[in-house]
């Protein structure tokens, strides 16, 4: 058996990696411990969300699958932050936990060049620090040119409920017992991370009259930009909002020492994510808060479980019973799955390069939770990049490295490999300094070309995309070339929409700069006569309305790109640079940044260290 690329693990990272690799034309093998668990959603039943929804769009623009499958299997769609500016809008889909994995499996099975194998990988074939394939649990060796590890939370994972600790993957799946020790032997630093998931409640035992219904959007939205999908917005399944009660708080405080986290049952030094604290964490840290918000979310239309978002805990089962029953509408609720915390091994992501190939072993790529991230979208975003880059490397092509001003995926990977992480990393809009450029609405404009260049975006979609770009140009030109003259008629029209009258003729483009005027108004007034597709007009409108801010951010990005152009030679020896602060010397040696820009982003490296480094580089390499 011989493959170009082997992907280990078929979660969201593994699926995207395998599909990318196979679609680029590489003979690919995807190995998973349980085929029934391909692309499963072991935690929240949603895809997207703030910032994450933009990642899904980016995956779609690169030619990935996540967005398409979420579009096929959603129960509810919601555009978040629609009342705010275009830069922070983001789509979230509640998806069906039964059909989502099913659709993904179907896609994998129908994919040319891709073979699925149910087995457990326990070691890598390594020669001279280069990976040549994998070794299965039964000692079978499978050779390949590249290996991509996307093992999720399965490496030596422990499930914690109260004082109970059990070696197991999520939901009683088989854990990977040996691989992380092998990775340690090969020289990887292993981190121990922790996350958790809340209870699942039997739907028929919840009294929804005591909850507040949360509906989906009335407008149609979808992740995939190839086809504009339409659906009946009334048929969406609602979520429900409730709050914790005084009794909940009392129960938790009384039983605090029984929680795995507070009772000291968690491995010392294991760090859980701050954005995903357990309910006991929230009650202790924010003790002045009377109540905490919880969402009851549907998991599937094919079974009865509801997901209790916000109630993640590592309390023992009997306490969990009491806690759940203290909630509104849950007096008689039946818990179908108890909340648990999970501890697992990951590698320190600073050992990985921006192409996602590891620095320790050549031909080895890592993506997803093994790199210290959290979330399906973060995993999938890395997965597609790892798949693309492993395939490009086989063809001796330069890797695809998305920049911080190009994609959230670029921010994600750069943050991971440059700064490392001590807790599972979740994408937040606040991590993206150029978020105004990284919008939901322009993900296709930013990335379709890359997807096309690597071979994941096929000709028809690319042609369509090219056409859209042309239309944007045409519409923009139309607005610049057509003027409104200061006639009484025009000015009374402006008056009617509470806009100042014009004295000289004005282009439609400039008119649109006014806050109170938008394309829809001008269309209604029949001032804009040429009609383009909504997303074409939206692009031009955003460009006009926010040009001041966009220009400013573009300038900042240019500054960053200049720093990125200043390359640091691979063979640099930081020990030889006099006057570097020892912390900086240590961090620079460890992370080995490829550019000055990257060096600047390493925490603990100060501007004075950078000036010393620059002086040294100028001396050593220019003179």
């Amino acid at each position: 058996m011989n493959y170009d690329i082997i992907v280990v693990g078929a979660g969201h990272a593994g699926c995207e990696a395998a599909l990318a690799s196979a679609r680029i034309g590489k003979k690919t093998l995807l190995i998973t411990a349980n085929l029934k668990n391909v692309a499963s959603l072991p935690c929240n039943p949603s895809i997207g969300g703030s910032a994450k929804g933009i990642i899904v769009r980016e995956i779609d623009a690169l030619g990935g699958e996540m967005g398409k499958i979420a579009d096929k299997t959603f129960l509810q769609m919601k555009m978040l932050n629609s009342s705010k500016g275009p830069a922070v809008r983001s789509l979230r889909a509640q998806v069906d936990k039964v059909t989502y994995p099913k659709e993904m499996l179907k896609t994998l099975e129908n994919q040319e060049n891709l073979t699925l194998l149910e087995s457990m990988v326990e070691d890598l074939i390594v020669e001279n620090k280069e990976v040549r394939g994998v070794i299965l649990f039964d000692n079978t060796k499978i050779l390949s040119k590249k290996v991509i590890l996307t093992t999720g939370t399965y490496l030596k994972s422990d499930i914690l409920i109260g004082d109970e600790r059990k070696r197991s993957g999520p939901h009683d799946e088989k854990p990977s017992l040996y691989l992380s020790d092998k990775l340690k032997q090969y020289g990887f630093n292993i981190l121990r991370l922790k996350t958790g998931t809340p209870q699942r409640i039997k739907k028929s035992t919840i009294n929804f009259l005591e909850t507040k219904e949360e509906l989906g959007d009335k407008e149609c939205y979808c992740f995939n930009t190839e086809e504009q999908m339409t659906y009946d917005t009334n048929k969406q399944i609602p979520c429900h909002l409730i709050y914790t009660t005084d009794l909940t708080k009392k129960i938790i405080l009384e039983n605090l020492n029984k929680s795995a986290m507070y009772g000291g049952y968690v491995t010392e030094g294991t760090v859980g994510p701050r954005y995903c604290p357990s309910i006991e964490d929230k009650i202790v840290r924010f003790s002045d808060k009377e109540r905490h918000q919880l969402f009851i979310e549907p998991e599937s239309i094919y079974y009865d479980d509801m997901y209790l978002q916000g109630f993640s805990t590592s309390m023992p089962r009997d306490v969990q019973e009491k806690m759940v029953h203290s909630l509104p509408g849950m007096k008689n609720a039946i818990i179908t799955k108890y909340a648990y915390a999970i501890e697992y091994d990951a590698i320190s992501p600073t050992q990985v390069t921006r192409s996602l190939e590891t620095k320790i072993l050549k031909n080895l790529y890592t993506a997803g939770q093994i790199n210290g991230t959290s979330g399906y979208e973060e995993a999938a975003g890395q997965g597609i990049i790892a798949g693309i880059n492993a395939a490009l490397a086989i063809d001796n092509k330069e890797p695809l490295i998305l920049k911080r001003n190009e994609a959230y995926i670029g921010v994600l990977i750069d943050d991971l490999v440059t700064k490392g992480t001590t807790e599972p990393y979740r994408m937040l809009t606040s991590r993206a300094e150029y978020r105004l450029l990284l919008r939901h609405d322009n993900a296709d404009i930013r990335l379709t070309k890359y997807g096309y260049d690597v071979g994941l975006i096929k000709e028809p979609r690319y042609q369509k995309f090219q056409h859209k770009l042309k239309e944007i140009d045409l519409f923009s030109k139309y607005l610049k070339e057509n003027k409104l003259n200061p006639t009484t008629n025009v000015n009374s029209m402006l008056k009617a929409i509470k806009s100042a009258p014009i004295k000289d003729s004005i282009t439609l483009y400039d008119l649109l700069k006014r806050t109170e005027i938008d394309i829809n108004i001008l269309k209604k007034l029949n001032i804009i006569k040429e009609i383009y597709l909504d997303d074409v007009m939206e692009q031009v409108e955003i460009e006009i309305k926010y040009s001041g801010y966009i220009n400013k951010i573009n300038k900042e990005a240019e500054k960053m790109l200049k720093q990125e152009e200043k390359k640091i030679p691979k063979d640099i020896n930081y020990e030889l640079i006099p006057n570097l602060a020892s912390e900086a010397r240590q961090k620079l040696s460890k992370i080995n940044p490829t550019t000055i820009g990257q060096a600047l982003r390493i925490s603990g490296v100060n501007p004075s260290d950078i000036s010393i480094l620059l002086v040294y580089l100028r001396k050593k390499y220019n003179e």
Binding site: A87, L241, I279, G310, K552, I612
Partner: protein, 446 residues
């Protein structure tokens, strides 16, 4: 980076001792060549008595302090030579050091090295530069405050206020459905931003008095020829620096003198009499006077009690209307011929020593000098810091302008810019601060 620098670190000619500082990897080696004892293996932070010698000839009797890297001001090897022999020998010692391999340090280069070697941060570096330049006691206090981080605290407080708003907006973006977290709106943040704008304004105002402390107040004395400008200058600086004569137009050059008022340096500038004249040399003096009106922080316009107001007087009084100025009427011992509409005048007689104290009092009042001395001296005094502060004010003003036109996540971009600029002043712009703030202040989670 690796050469060794040397410079005289004390003001030449002031005080009994002059100190020469040598810093760099060769510091010990170079000094050893001109010292009559072997200090090659001297322990760090020790003082050695001996002589500086040049070809067996004793140049000076000195004390040498040896400080080895990294626990020194520059984090390099540092030797300080305490010379006792006055200007000429100190210069000779420096010359010897330069002959033996040291390079003359550029102004501020020790501080620059301290900064580049990570010994001090940017505000501290500026503080030290100010310390060197500080001319008076108050200036010295200001420098020390800057060093100990009072300035940083002041800016940090502002940044914290901004960070609270920014992180709240970010949380609203990243967790849009959390109803129990306050949703900030443009309307809600407006008064908060106004307050920050006012705070920045206040620091700018204070900082400008910080500039006064460091650089002093420039006072221009102007008036028609022979109204007693030079006499007034002489009285204020208590020395005969300007030539005082009765002949009109003697003072053609601008003569500077300094005096200290409540610890603040006042630079007095005497000017040529302003009048219309065909005399070329006079004309230059007149032009310079106008220039000085521009350059001065305060104009003292001097008139004679016994002379009527001329057209020129009215013209110049008009010219200085919008500047800080004091109208002073001299020669009140003589008969009054002057009629003036100015509501506040100081009446003096330099000859009879009348009213001069009230002139000084007026200057103190105008510049709030009493306040400056008693206030805690926490403001910025370097031009760089003040200009950054003004830039931060611009971005907060931008946010206030945009607040009616743009959604809050756009306004936040202006606030972030402001926050970053403030961070630049104190050398801090870590994004992690924001992420930390978000998670420590808000209760979020799945």
């Amino acid at each position: 980076m690796e050469d060794t620098i040397a410079a005289i670190s004390t003001t030449l000619g002031v005080g009994a001792i002059s100190i020469i500082r040598v810093s760099g990897p060769e510091a010990i080696k170079i000094v050893n060549k001109i010292f009559d004892k072997n200090i090659k293996d001297a322990k760090t932070h020790t003082i050695h008595y001996g002589h500086i010698i040049d070809k067996n000839q004793i140049i000076d009797e000195v004390l040498i302090s040896i400080m080895l890297a990294p626990k020194t001001f520059t984090k390099e090897n540092v030797v300080e030579i305490n010379c006792h022999g006055g200007i000429i020998t100190t210069n000779k010692v420096l010359e010897l050091l330069l002959l033996n391999g040291a390079r003359l340090a550029e102004p501020g280069e020790f501080t620059k090295r301290a900064f580049l070697n990570g010994r001090i941060d940017l505000t501290q570096a500026e503080g030290i530069m100010n310390l060197i330049e500080a001319k008076t006691e108050v200036g010295r206090k200001l420098s020390i405050n800057q060093l100990t981080g009072n300035v940083s605290n002041l800016i940090e407080n502002l940044r914290q206020k901004l960070l609270e708003i920014i992180s709240n907006i970010e949380v609203n973006i990243d967790y849009p459905e959390y109803e129990d977290i306050e949703v900030l709106t443009n309307k809600k943040i407006y008064p908060k931003l106004k307050e920050i704008q006012e705070n920045i304004d206040e620091i700018i105002k204070k900082s400008e008095s910080g500039k006064i402390i460091k650089e002093g107040i420039n006072i221009g004395i102007i008036g028609r020829p022979n109204v007693g400008k030079s006499s007034l200058l002489n009285y204020l600086i208590e020395e005969d620096k300007a030539i005082v004569t009765d002949i009109e137009g003697t003072t053609r050059d601008i003569v500077e003198g300094k005096f200290i008022l409540n610890g603040i340096v006042c630079n007095i500038i005497d000017t040529a009499g302003i009048r219309k004249t065909d005399n070329i040399v006079e004309q230059i003096g007149v032009d310079k006077s106008y220039e000085i009106i521009k350059k001065s922080d305060l104009i003292i316009y001097l008139l004679n009690n016994n002379e009527k107001l001329t057209k020129e007087d009215i013209e110049i009084l008009n010219q200085i209307k919008n500047k800080k100025h004091i109208v002073v009427i001299n020669k009140i011992d003589l008969k009054n011929n002057l009629e003036i509409s100015e509501n506040e005048v100081i009446k003096i007689s330099i000859k009879e020593n009348i009213g001069l104290e009230s002139l000084k009092q007026k200057i103190i009042e105008i510049f709030n000098l009493e306040q400056i001395e008693t206030n805690d001296l926490t403001y910025l005094s370097s031009a760089r810091s003040i200009s950054l502060l003004k830039k931060s004010k611009e971005s907060i003003e931008k946010s206030l302008n945009n607040i009616k036109k743009y959604p809050i996540d756009m306004i936040e971009l202006d606030l972030k810019e402001c926050w970053n600029i403030l961070g630049e002043i104190i050398g801090k712009t870590y994004k992690e601060e924001l992420i930390d703030e978000i998670f420590s202040r808000f209760c979020l989670g799945k």
